[in-house]
Subunit: 134 residues, 2 copies
Amino acid sequence: MPSRNDLPEGPKLSDMEWEVMKPLWEHGPMAARDIYERVPDTYGWAYETVKTMLARLVKKGALTYDQIGNSFLYRPAYTRAEMTREATGSFIQRVFDGALNPFLAHFAEQASHEELQAIRQELSRIEKMRREDK
Amino acid sequence: MPSRNDLPEGPKLSDMEWEVMKPLWEHGPMAARDIYERVPDTYGWAYETVKTMLARLVKKGALTYDQIGNSFLYRPAYTRAEMTREATGSFIQRVFDGALNPFLAHFAEQASHEELQAIRQELSRIEKMRREDK
DNA sequence: TGACAACGGCTACACTTGTAGTCTATCATC
DNA sequence: GATGATAGACTACAAGTGTAGCCGTTGTCA
């Protein structure tokens, strides 16, 4: 069993690239046009822009594709969990020097009461799992 | 009293710029040479590189300085708390679409038992504060 | 079978970032 | 006052990013 620190090394995404990946994670493999339509309007991107990002994501290994006749069906090469795990790890390292606590302050201040409850449960789950685990 | 969502708008720092800011937050105002000496060796930067980053940080408003004769005494224009708060907010937005919970999974898995306890206490503190606050 | 729409490929271009060198003004010291 | 060390200013340059256009090919529908 891989240790919990045994991170699979995935490519690093730029800010805007995340927005292109999200529709794919949420709705499964899609063609460029469909991705374009699901990217938030707020960015006001041209379709061409989305295509460029798709090409770059393929190049950096974050996406693969199946060719269907003329067009591609894009598919994430990593799960969202894998990519967020990695991004989070390096974010905490960079901004907090790996110290988790200050991070939590911001995090928890923004959370609703229900979310705080959920967090508590998550903490318990993790601690329980650890006790059983080893 | 400002609301807790009333974020002061600070400049966005690049990965390496964080490393230059950290010594200043930790030890207070310093000259370029001193910052250079406190930046982790791991990066293997030339002194010139640090100076370039200082100039850029001044330009983007993250640092100010007092001129002492020939040289500058650099000083952060924002507290570490302000900058981390903002960075964290935009990170969570970008990577988790603002949903805090998945973030916590990674976060908590990495934490030690003691840290988890600390997190619990922090949660309690926040909830208590909220009950009193309004 | 011809015209056109749609696709991916390639190109562009300004801005940022990581990394560092050269130039000029100034401070300290002999 | 001359000289050398040092500081900040300016310049450089490749890679990455945000944004998008044009081109040749292919699928489709009349």
